[in-house]
Each structure stands twice: as structure tokens, then as C-alpha cells.
């Protein structure tokens, strides 16, 4: 099991270490991590993302062109007009190979692990 080192001000990361958090007030579920994927010059960056179920991917389109982040198996399809941002909640574990629906050469991957 992995213990996160108890960094001050980051108790939400201390999964499985609730006993050590007596001073933190009421328990709440671990906050999902946010992974940002930027689109710039027709490329997703980072190209590979590792996440857990429940995490959020924020897509930021910095291009002057319309893009999308599309999972061909249908888990998500986020339309991203020029300059737009979008959000995807990762609901299932697995390996996703996504692409831009408009520019098939733009691809990326997300590997989603079960939580805990």
C-alpha cells in the first residue's frame, strides 16, 4: 500500500491514513486529481496521462483551430472550439486512446487505474 507522506495542507491525498488526520475536521472523500492536457500546434500535451477513476481531465485548446478530444469507444467526446476548455470525468478503469475528431493525426492516451 502506498502512504502519501503527510504534507501539510494536503491531507486529502492521505488515502488510507485517516487515523493520522484527527486534526482535519470531518472526513471527506479524497478529492479527485485534475490532469490538464493542453492542445497547442495540433498536438496533445502531455501525450500520455496516467490517472485514477474519478479523476478529471481538463482540456485546454490553445490553438486558433477547432479541435476535440474524442474517445472512439465512446467514453467521452469533448468539442473544443479555438481557445476553449473542456472537462472529462474518468468513470472507468482502462486504457483510452483518444484523438481529435477533426485531425486524426492528433492522438493521446490516458491510462485509468481503479482507485486505491
Amino acid at each position: 500500500m502506498v502512504f502519501s507522506t503527510a504534507r501539510r495542507r494536503a491531507p486529502i491525498l492521505a488515502i488510507g491514513a485517516a487515523l493520522a488526520l484527527a486534526a482535519c475536521g470531518p472526513n471527506h472523500a479524497p478529492a479527485p486529481a485534475v490532469h490538464t492536457v493542453v492542445i497547442d500546434q495540433l498536438a496533445f500535451s502531455p501525450k500520455a496521462t496516467t490517472a485514477n477513476v474519478g479523476d478529471v481531465v481538463v482540456w485546454v485548446n490553445k490553438d486558433i483551430l477547432r479541435h476535440s478530444a474524442t474517445d472512439p469507444s465512446g467514453a467521452f467526446d469533448v468539442d473544443l472550439p479555438a481557445g476553449a476548455t473542456g472537462k472529462t470525468v474518468l468513470k472507468q478503469a482502462g486504457s483510452i486512446k483518444y484523438a481529435c475528431r477533426y485531425h486524426p493525426g492528433m492522438t493521446g492516451t490516458i491510462s485509468v487505474a481503479e482507485k486505491g
Binding site: D63, P104, G105
Partner: protein, 173 residues
């Protein structure tokens, strides 16, 4: 400050196919005109394809061309306005335009699968030509940083389009 950027002398002709000339490269106003013309040509080709083709994949590709090249041209127009540059017609942009007009006339006579094949084959060739010009002449010659950066985005875009066109051409054989 901006004035000095454009104070280049000698309106050297450029060879679109990449032949090396000893004359100076194109000036920024000329580059802007070439880039704008190159984008407009592909928008016109895409519009023609949308009027003629019934193949969903070809139509999807043509929509992509119209959408992307219109976006780049909107940005280019905004940039030249901001910089106070007037795009300057030149032999390279005129050459591109006359070739494109001839190609469009040729494509106008075709229909169905023959049109689709010819349109996509021309898109492959056209994007290759423009990529070569961007890489070898236009980007290295551009003086203004913002213009250079827009051309670099244009190059990525044309490369992606070329790959898409090649993939599509493979499927039409």
C-alpha cells in the same frame, strides 16, 4: 520599431518548389500575401468538394479544410491589421492562384468517384508543395515573430492535413 522590421529591400522572387535563389527571400508583406492566398485556395477547393462530393469521408475532409484554413486566414488578417502591414501581391502568390484556378476547372468537369479521387490526390500534392514552401522559404524569411509563429502553426496544420489527405487517398484506391 515595427517599421524597421519590414524595412527590407529587394522584392526577390521566390521559388515555391524550393529552388535556391541567390536573391533575398520574400518580405513579410509578400509572405502574408502568399500565406493568405495558399489558405484561400484550399478553402475554395474544399467548397467545391462540398458542392460536388457525396462521399462522407471526402466531405468530412473538405469541411476540415474549409474550417481550418478559414480560421488561419481570419487570424492572418487580424495580424496584418494589427501590424499595419498590407499584404503585397507577388509572382509566387499569382502562380499559386493561376495553378489553383486551372485545377478547379479540371475538377469541375469530374463527378462521383472520379472527382473524389482527383480532389484528394490534388490535396495531397498541394499540401506537399505548400509545406515545402513554408519550411524552406516562408518561415525562414519571415522577420516578424508573430508572423513566423502563425506560419509555424500553418505548417503543423498543413502537415496534419497532408497526412489526413494521404490516408484518405489510400482508402479511395
Amino acid at each position: 520599431m515595427k517599421r524597421t522590421i519590414f524595412a527590407l529591400s529587394g522584392a526577390g522572387l521566390i521559388a515555391i518548389a524550393g529552388a535556391a535563389w541567390a536573391t533575398p527571400g520574400p518580405t513579410d508583406p509578400q509572405i502574408a500575401h502568399i500565406a493568405y492566398t495558399a489558405d484561400s485556395i484550399d478553402v475554395a477547393a474544399g467548397t467545391q468538394a462540398l458542392a460536388k462530393s457525396h462521399n462522407p469521408k471526402v466531405r468530412e475532409f473538405a469541411e476540415e479544410m474549409v474550417r481550418d484554413h478559414t480560421a488561419v486566414n481570419d487570424k492572418a488578417l487580424a495580424l496584418v491589421k494589427k501590424l499595419g502591414v498590407t499584404p503585397q501581391p507577388n509572382p509566387t502568390s499569382a502562380g499559386l492562384q493561376s495553378q489553383a484556378t486551372a485545377e478547379r476547372a479540371k475538377l469541375a468537369k469530374l463527378s462521383g468517384a472520379a472527382f473524389d479521387k482527383a480532389y484528394v490526390a490534388n490535396e495531397v500534392a498541394y499540401h506537399k508543395t505548400v509545406n515545402g514552401a513554408l519550411e524552406q522559404t516562408l518561415i525562414p524569411s519571415a522577420q516578424n515573430g508573430e508572423l513566423k509563429s502563425l506560419l509555424q502553426t500553418g505548417l503543423k496544420l498543413f502537415q496534419e492535413h497532408q497526412a489526413h489527405a494521404e490516408q484518405l487517398a489510400g482508402g479511395l484506391r
